[in-house]
Symmetry: C2
Subunit: 207 residues, 2 copies
């Protein structure tokens, strides 16, 4: 019924689908809100993509919410090879772009070239964080773990010795996508500090 | 900086985002391809939405792949209240629509009405399975667990006494979204039977 070519294409596409099942085994530092276990990068990708659909109105400029959601579905696929890099791990960030670029080459390379191209373009756009959609998507990817921390008593922050000054510095780029969400994120930091979930900067301990 | 109204809206939207974290704790019958654990409905939603992005060309008629992906991101949110209903659980399917409709009312009802409306409309469209996009999305939701079963030695089928005739009958609706994917799905059934992962129908045992 179908040409050999279309069957070859389908085989390659199914191989990609099977390959990305591995993202469900990549663990993040964030804990689920019920405190039962750490979050994996596949379910995170779903969650933050859903966030794009419901928070689009808060972007600095009109965004295509579904494009932002697609970027967020794709953004962590490279972690299958490169692993999850914790936001506050400075050393691991040194070669993050190189590791993830190689991973993108391999993983999207499983697909027929014309299937891969639009997905790789969305991944590149997210990474570059220059377009309105990509800045908004990146803002959500920063905000989400702050919410998980606030509602799990700062579990990932505390396990990794993260302080409020670092959370502030790392996440102020949220404002590039949404000033309103950065205002909200600052209330999250303040609430976490007030509840004792997030220490102030080490330098402030001697004040 | 922002009006009280927009802050109220953001609060409601964040409550929805926090609520749907619970989908990560809803377990399906399917096992991950690495055999380590059962799949949850949040990571499944991501995986099958990704499938829409790479398999769209195989639909019977031109589909909007991102609309199909959005439907698939949303389709299982109701399981937070209604639980996952196994495809071959006839008794549980009797009141599935009622349980899931009530869940959709509550969960999408957490959002401001105008944020909820387009998402609920996509959820309803998926459930009705009448449009081209929805038929394609439903086809993918049927195909995915067949792939997981084939690559985990029929683990969910065997745990639940599912036979090849039931898999055939349950999934032939895939053809309504994609004749090509139904042809492919039949090769999955044949391979699973040949490998001994999926028994033939009980009635054929006496042949």
């Amino acid at each position: 019924m179908t040409s050999p070519t279309s069957l070859d294409r389908l085989d390659a596409q199914i191989r990609f689908i099977l390959e990305i099942d591995k993202l469900k085994a990549v663990l993040r530092q964030s804990w689920l809100l019920d405190g039962e276990r750490r979050e994996n990068s596949a379910e995170h990708s779903w969650h933050v993509a859903m966030m794009a659909l419901v928070l689009a109105e808060h972007a600095n400029a009109p965004v295509d919410a579904t494009r932002a959601a697609m970027m967020l579905m794709l953004h962590d696929v490279v972690e299958i090879d490169a692993g999850d890099t914790f936001a506050y791990d400075v050393a691991a960030h040194a070669d993050k772009a190189e590791r993830e670029g190689a991973a993108a080459d391999r993983i999207f390379g499983l697909l027929p070239a014309d299937t891969a191209a639009p997905l790789r373009a969305l991944w590149d756009e997210f990474e570059a964080a220059e377009t309105i959609d990509a800045r908004f998507a990146n803002a959500l990817d920063r905000l989400m773990p702050m919410l998980h921390n606030l509602h799990t008593e700062g579990r990932a922050w505390q396990a990794n010795g993260v302080t409020a000054d670092k959370v502030f510095a790392r996440n102020q780029v949220i404002a590039a996508g949404s000033v309103r969400l950065w205002e909200y994120a600052k209330t999250v930091i303040d609430a976490a500090v007030a509840k004792g979930y997030l220490p102030q900067a080490p330098s402030s301990l001697g004040d």
